[in-house]
Amino acid sequence: MSVEQHIPNDQFLQKLTAFYRDSKIRGPKSVYVTMKPYDGRTKAMPKGTGFKEDDEISCIFRAKWGSKKIATEVKAKEVNNFHSQYSAIIIAQMVNLEKRKKTDDDKKKSTGAAKA
């Protein structure tokens, strides 16, 4: 596996959209998105080493579709902006799910209301 290059946030979101779009037309592969905290280090640390007190913690986003992988680092001050764009993408792309089914309770309620 090659070393991941972090790409800028906007490029990441563009490619992520492409992943979701491509997954609809090209085969049954899943799209994975991972988020985890990141302290900015680029070298491996001994096992068990935690983040240092003064480290600025950002969030790393990784996405994978088939063998394609992308990653980006989201800085603390960009979180709100990034998340609003990210949620717009998932709402627009995760569409092949079932609409809400009426539970038994709802059915009772609606028939009850119809009678009354």
Binding site: P28, M35, E98
Partner: protein, 76 residues
């Protein structure tokens, strides 16, 4: 590890696990368009929480949960 059956339980457990061990936690969403399935997973490599759904309404809830988690990741 088995899947949670209710969203509220999953969300509550996820936030609790994340606040207990924020450094190690990672949050994964897996979406399969062909199957119409969405799987969410939060783990700190000791405890693993999973939730699987095929309901459209859960995307909205995912948006909310991911926002909460994202914010607490950068403010830890």
């Amino acid at each position: 590890m088995t899947y949670f059956t209710s969203w509220d339980e999953f969300a509550k457990a996820a936030e609790r696990l994340h606040s207990a061990n924020p450094e190690k936690c990672r949050f994964v969403t897996k979406y399969n368009h062909t199957k119409g399935q969405l799987v969410l997973k939060l783990t700190d490599d000791i405890v693993c929480l999973q939730y699987s759904t095929n309901q459209l309404q859960d995307v909205k809830k995912l948006e909310k949960l991911s926002s909460t988690l994202l914010r607490s990741i950068v403010t830890q």
